[in-house]
Symmetry: D2
Subunit: 341 residues, 4 copies
Amino acid sequence: MLSFENDYSEGAHPAILRRLAETNMEQLPGYGTDRYCADATEKIRRATGCPDADVWFLVGGTQTNQTVIDSITPQYAGVVAAQSGHVNVHEAGAIEFTGHKVLTLPAHDGRIDANELADYCEGFFADANHDHMVFPGSVYISFPTEFGTVYTLAQLEAIGEVCRQYGIPLFVDGARLGYGLTAPGTDVSLQDIARITDVFSIGGTKVGALFGEAVVFPRSHSPRHFLTLIKQHGALLAKGWLLGLQFDTLFTDDLYGTIAAHANDAAETIRTALRDKGYSLTFDSPTNQIFVTLDQQTISRLSSHVRIGFMQKADEYHSVMRICTSWATTPEHVAELISLL
Amino acid sequence: MLSFENDYSEGAHPAILRRLAETNMEQLPGYGTDRYCADATEKIRRATGCPDADVWFLVGGTQTNQTVIDSITPQYAGVVAAQSGHVNVHEAGAIEFTGHKVLTLPAHDGRIDANELADYCEGFFADANHDHMVFPGSVYISFPTEFGTVYTLAQLEAIGEVCRQYGIPLFVDGARLGYGLTAPGTDVSLQDIARITDVFSIGGTKVGALFGEAVVFPRSHSPRHFLTLIKQHGALLAKGWLLGLQFDTLFTDDLYGTIAAHANDAAETIRTALRDKGYSLTFDSPTNQIFVTLDQQTISRLSSHVRIGFMQKADEYHSVMRICTSWATTPEHVAELISLL
Amino acid sequence: MLSFENDYSEGAHPAILRRLAETNMEQLPGYGTDRYCADATEKIRRATGCPDADVWFLVGGTQTNQTVIDSITPQYAGVVAAQSGHVNVHEAGAIEFTGHKVLTLPAHDGRIDANELADYCEGFFADANHDHMVFPGSVYISFPTEFGTVYTLAQLEAIGEVCRQYGIPLFVDGARLGYGLTAPGTDVSLQDIARITDVFSIGGTKVGALFGEAVVFPRSHSPRHFLTLIKQHGALLAKGWLLGLQFDTLFTDDLYGTIAAHANDAAETIRTALRDKGYSLTFDSPTNQIFVTLDQQTISRLSSHVRIGFMQKADEYHSVMRICTSWATTPEHVAELISLL
Amino acid sequence: MLSFENDYSEGAHPAILRRLAETNMEQLPGYGTDRYCADATEKIRRATGCPDADVWFLVGGTQTNQTVIDSITPQYAGVVAAQSGHVNVHEAGAIEFTGHKVLTLPAHDGRIDANELADYCEGFFADANHDHMVFPGSVYISFPTEFGTVYTLAQLEAIGEVCRQYGIPLFVDGARLGYGLTAPGTDVSLQDIARITDVFSIGGTKVGALFGEAVVFPRSHSPRHFLTLIKQHGALLAKGWLLGLQFDTLFTDDLYGTIAAHANDAAETIRTALRDKGYSLTFDSPTNQIFVTLDQQTISRLSSHVRIGFMQKADEYHSVMRICTSWATTPEHVAELISLL
């Protein structure tokens, strides 16, 4: 059966699989000390315009968020996130497990608002009793957000400005970073992300890799002994070169951007078809995730031909569903889906 | 200067101080294994109508909430609380420090609503993806609430019913329990609390003791090795009899109720005066905490004669202030405050 | 350069890589809900003789130990391990990070002794003050141990007996399980491990997989909501089928045992050569890890031709070094190493 | 029955109780912001010779150790302590509960050895693989130790020197500090402790207070937002002045030293009697704790007249027992005990 359920339904982009096969018999040192991690680091430094960036390779998204947030957030503090943020909703309490509260701001189609962040910080420090409260100790945003939306450069700059004003590090969860950077109409580049944030991740799992997330500290301000912290959080891969190799491949000839743009294009085609056919898009996403509110009858009809994601009930008769494209989405898949709609 | 800032501004009720002095030279075993803890336990069992209740004595409120919630909430779960709940707002992240998320429900003058709790639980378990989310693993309510309001018996029963339905333990934070139980018009008794909840605390610190919170498991379902858990949380007092002695005194001839009723009466007198003078009460509290919205000018004028608590800004020109009575509040204090208003 | 540094220096056994390639374009559901995980589970159930076993697939060893131990050890308790146990020495405090103390017993060539375990437990519970101490809440042993040694069946049975007597779950870290089960002279089978323990892991990372550890609860006593606990610990792989596929391959036609036996054979050949040449073996290991005490001159000489692992200084002039074989070790490698010795 | 079971069997020194009574009706602000805490801080600054010292007041010993160690030890690190250290043995895992391993060194009558500490640190950082291990992140010693012994000034200086060399903070647990500082023959002063350590506690609970431990950062290097950390650890007392008042009293006219010297004198008298009567002292303690190895018959005989502490079995027929004196020990008690021996 056809599936548009998510962007991590298949293995890896063939170029990645090929390199895994080619290098399979090489004897390499473990834990990220190999040449492929070094190469990938170099390429990411170049792509981000940060020659001194620290780059680390972890396996999964929740693991990455947990390790990074726990390491950059002071002990007496929590992480500020959108109410809809992945760390607040879908990580089984992985952040609180490390001792930190998730402090929530309203989500505007998945985005936090710089003014609301500023108000929050100002209100917090104005409160005479704030010593009994959880300090805002880091800010988490996802780019693109959990609803496929993106921040504009101006929005990101404004959030970064508030963070700098209060001395709070800004972390961008880039589990689907590529899709955001190549979204039609976006004015945000990888260099912008690197310039504005204190740390961000470049997601591989959902952008063509078998697995893997690169964590970038653009100005080389990794937490002290970050490798030990990664190990302590159970997040250090023995055969670390598997990560290096994948990111080296993704950042060769901008395969990362190519994969993301391909998926965005497919999504745009589907979105246009949905609009043409009068469907109601739940969010105005320019990336590879399409959220559409469907009635139960349509959902039933589709479900015997194609798998799409259930997000949540909208009302008694409708649900919000997600259609997701990826590197593996073919024009034939798209055409078939559209014909089914 | 006169102070109505809170109900823990003075030492202890004289009867407590007297017993501390009388017993000072007795040699007693530590960690709650003494005769006074045994006596206090017996009296609390009688007062709650639970002959098998487990009773433990801790020092402070946050410590009690932290130790109890961490011990009754499964590892994969969080604690459900009102947005305004003390554990969510004013405990410096003590709950998250132990690894558990605080899952918030809307606060209605400090109260959660049984229907909203039921909807939350139903929605949670209906969500196909709930394995990636934080399970509701316990429910925390405060009685009276942080805003001095109380639940009716029907409201408590309804919350208890939802908890039982989902197999989730209900914990009542009774830091100011006495004031709630003796509030004019309340239909909730200590026996009701014991019957409906799985565990609750009886606050001493804010009801006439130097310090101390009794934790009651009415049906003797203490977590396994709870003494060790108390020790592990840094909450075990060496000279445990100091707690037993205080609760023994508070539960002799219902001193606990007498103290609370006295403070409630004083508050009622002040509240009547406030209403008569046209002040705007922020919450409809029947207990010893009075929340009143004052303009800056009035606050300034009062502040040179009496200390009252600042809660939060209401708008540019007004703030919510708290007036708090206690066992130590005299008719003269009340009269003086009223004349100042 | 030739490397005998460890058993995770190459990618994966070709059979695994082949299946990854073959299935790369299949669309599969995430998080272990796919058919390959189901197949692997079935095969592991058959191999362990436990038709009801719960089987879970995690990515790495430290992560597995952390998640399992935190989930089976009561909150008031620690995990008992050999002084030399991986969890005590080489996991960057991953166990303590989850709140549990590692309680150590003496290591006898890496093994704990059932009598010493019994004495420890008896002493602990005999101690009148043990409520202020960390309870033994689980027992961790590695099979084979960190020094390549194995337990006899009688030793394992005796440890299991003590655990049952005190109601403490026994966890076997099988990061290199295959090498232990196929070691010359061992009398322990996979079914024995399953019968004697409460939970154990089957290591893939070090036995031919790209990565992956299977966690087996032989009598289906997984901790409640274990999937959520895995997620909470950051240990849930999105493309879970990558794990299922690898273990399905390893447990088809006993590839797992074949790989391990191959490496053990190679190690035995090297060990014989070492003995013949008068080298001093540090431990009497029958598995794929050879520990040998070398003088600095020999180490220097070897280091320009072959990479072997440095373990620790033995004295001013000698160090304990490790030679490790794997599925990828060829007769040519072995011959070359022997000629260098 | 007479009791020499410990030094926290009675309430408080009468001078403390008197001041609690005198100030009972004063209205004071909470959480340590009152004038008595300020006065006590001033007096402790003077006594330690550290005009800029930060002084904090907590309730109990385990709580203090937990809060301090968790706050000064980096996230990737553990705390080094003697095998016999209170934090390693008798705090129910309170340190590991906060995520830190206790790294143990051999105990020499309760003391660690500076050379062994230096060797440990040197060995750790020399180990090529130490990124996978728990870093030494703080050093904990108790003065006097759990066995009543003290460090000489030279020993303390040497330990402090190693700590400075490796940039590791040194924490002295002074639960019984007074007894150590006034021990016959000690050459260590309070100023020495303040000069050599990074943080230390001054125990009140076991030296005449109802409860309370003062935490001193002699060079005002408190961890950031330490008050919030105290609150987060459940260790912030609402009526903080109760602590300030007690320490103000203890540090007025050196009551603290007077109490301790009194108890030490009583212990010395008992020790001399024990020696004269041919008893076998287990440790050579010059402070208020006497450890003596007794046969079961003697223990039985004594137990019907006097309570002393059981420490541990020495062999089948003997146990190590503890006799403890305090401010409340009278010459009559001592004479009675001696006559019983």
